[in-house]
């Protein structure tokens, strides 16, 4: 597998050096692995901090800036960051109004953020946490670790970030984030596995004529494998899985998310099919975002995330945002 890297050991640091070079409005601490708004802490405002393994770019560092995240902590590739990074990030951006940790539901992320929350609170930072667990491909039962956090992370970070920007207190920012997670669901498909820089070869074996339904964002296989389907068939499967879990209420925000190596040409075609299925099911679409936002290195495939919104959430979605990967209105 050919990769545009120096050596696997420095992939994350090299990437952060590039972000620092490209976005002077970000404060990038390459050594301690923290990406923060340069103007943070912003007086009187709640800080929203997230983090997770690298390899999902632009998540999370690409979402740092006015209107979205205050700071992000990138871990090693597909490995959660460590508590020291999160505590450092929280301390760097806390204005005294408190910090909301946005945590994707993976054991490593949960354990490290739990430890970080305790340590930050010991240092006098008020911390709240919201867990993102939107993936309907995973059965939520007593016998599993629960649903994974995937595409809805973008919705939670954008809407909680906008709530914080409006000056809402920590409890309301937290409640907003929780509400967004509660009304969001995702489903992903992979047409090929991804390759981590450390391993240098695909993390699982997906035959050329098959696709993986319900795939996660770490190259972990999904639940079911089928012969290759058309874009329209995949949209039927994915949207139905989401709508049946979410309930058919509307309107919704739609995220059609690429896994990293699927061209926009295909993603737009898939978006047309997603809209068709929603129309057939009578679900009104308020806004649609298409692109590679919550990726899985070089995996091909896509995920669909729907978020049921009300007037307040729509206002927060439309609010100005200025980050490396998402920007409008400013």
């Amino acid at each position: 597998m050919k990769m545009l890297i120096n050596v696997a050991e420095t992939v994350v640091a090299d990437s952060l050096r590039g972000m620092a070079a490209a976005y002077p409005e970000l404060a990038v601490d390459v050594e301690n692995r923290v990406v923060a708004r340069r103007d943070a802490p912003v007086a009187g405002k709640v800080a929203v901090v997230s983090g997770g393994g690298s390899g999902h770019e632009p998540l999370h560092g690409g979402f740092v800036g006015p209107g979205m995240l205050s700071a992000a902590c990138p871990g090693e590739v597909f490995t959660s960051p460590v508590p020291d990074q999160m505590v450092r990030a929280a301390a760097a951006v806390d204005s005294g109004a408190g910090v909301l940790f946005v945590v994707k539901n993976y054991t490593g992320d949960v354990l490290n953020f739990d430890m970080a929350a305790e340590l930050a609170q010991d240092e006098g930072v008020r911390v709240a946490k919201v867990l993102v667990n939107d993936d309907v491909a995973v059965t939520d039962s007593l016998y599993t670790a629960g649903r994974r956090g995937t595409g809805a992370t973008l919705f939670v970070e954008k809407l909680a970030g906008a709530a914080a920007e409006e000056g809402m207190p920590l409890a309301r920012v937290e409640a907003t984030a929780r509400r967004v997670n509660d009304t969001s669901r995702s489903f992903g498909v992979a047409l090929s596995a991804c390759s981590t820089p450390a391993k240098g070869s695909p993390t699982f074996d997906l035959p050329a004529g098959e696709l993986e339904l319900g795939v996660g964002i770490h190259g972990e296989p999904g639940r079911e494998r089928r012969p290759m389907m058309t874009s329209g068939e995949i949209a039927d499967f994915a949207v139905n899985a989401v709508v049946e879990d979410l309930g058919p209420r509307d309107p919704v925000l739609v995220l059609v998310n690429g896994m990293g190596a699927t061209p926009l040409l295909e993603l737009y075609g898939f978006t047309a099919e997603v809209h068709r299925v929603l129309r057939e099911r009578g679900v009104a679409v308020a806004r649609t975002l298409v692109g590679n936002y919550v990726t899985s290195l070089d995996m091909t495939g896509a995920s669909v995330t729907l978020c049921q919104i009300d007037e307040e959430l729509l206002r927060l979605w439309d609010a100005p945002v200025r980050t490396a990967a998402l920007r409008w209105g400013m």
């Binding site: 393994g53 090693e76 597909f78 354990l111 016998y143 599993t144 670790a145 450390a198 972990e220 639940r223």
Partner: protein
């Protein structure tokens, strides 16, 4: 009796075993996890060896608590907090004694294993590191060799199990047929104990 030097040798021996087995651990982590277990533990135990050389704690308890803190600060993922908690809580249970008996160590390790179970919310049979840690710790009062064998068998016994915790649980029935990478790395801890005991007897440094 076991002193701080013994525990330093133990951790150096774990680091050497992880270095040797890193590729195998990552291979085990590929089909059911996310292919980073070997690299993550290598980074953590390399840092542990470095900090122990720099700070040279004087008691068994302080060696283990420092090592545990270092793992939490460097590993990430689930294995950082879990292995970090194992060593920190085992160290805390050993207290400030300059030397501890093998029985004291066995009791302390059981406390550490219980802390891991509480943190991760897992139990034996869930296809996690506990499937090697629990039998290993239980056999420790008999001998290091018995603990090594029990942990190894425990790790191998995860192959037919279905995962109920961690990322492998997302695979459901498809996790069956793969050895749990966490149980495999936990078995290395017990393997390293016998290496450390041998090294102590012969005055050698593990890994030489």
């Amino acid at each position: 009796m076991l002193d701080a030097d013994f525990f330093r040798r133990w951790l150096a021996s774990v680091a050497a075993a992880v270095e040797r087995e890193a590729d195998r651990l990552t291979e085990l982590d590929s089909p059911i996890g996310d292919a980073d277990h070997g690299g993550n533990l290598r980074r953590g135990f390399t840092a542990v060896v470095a900090v122990l050389e720099k700070e040279a704690p004087a008691t068994p308890g302080s060696v283990l608590t420092l090592a545990g803190r270092q793992l939490i600060s460097t590993v990430g993922g689930a294995s950082g907090p879990l292995y970090g908690t194992l060593l920190r809580r085992t160290g805390a249970a050993l207290g400030a004694e300059p030397q501890v008996s093998a029985a004291d160590f066995a009791a302390a390790l059981r406390a550490g294993v219980a802390a891991v179970a509480a943190l991760g919310g897992a139990a034996p049979g869930d296809k996690t590191m506990l499937d090697a840690l629990v039998p290993g710790a239980d056999a420790l009062p008999t001998s290091f060799a018995a603990a090594r064998e029990a942990a190894l068998q425990g790790a191998l016994a995860t192959i037919p199990l279905q995962a109920h915790k961690g990322r492998a649980s997302y695979l459901g029935a498809r996790s069956v047929g793969h050895q749990d990478p966490g149980a495999a790395s936990s078995a290395l801890l017990f393997e390293a104990l016998t290496d450390a005991a041998e090294a102590t007897a012969t005055g050698k440094t593990p890994g030489e």
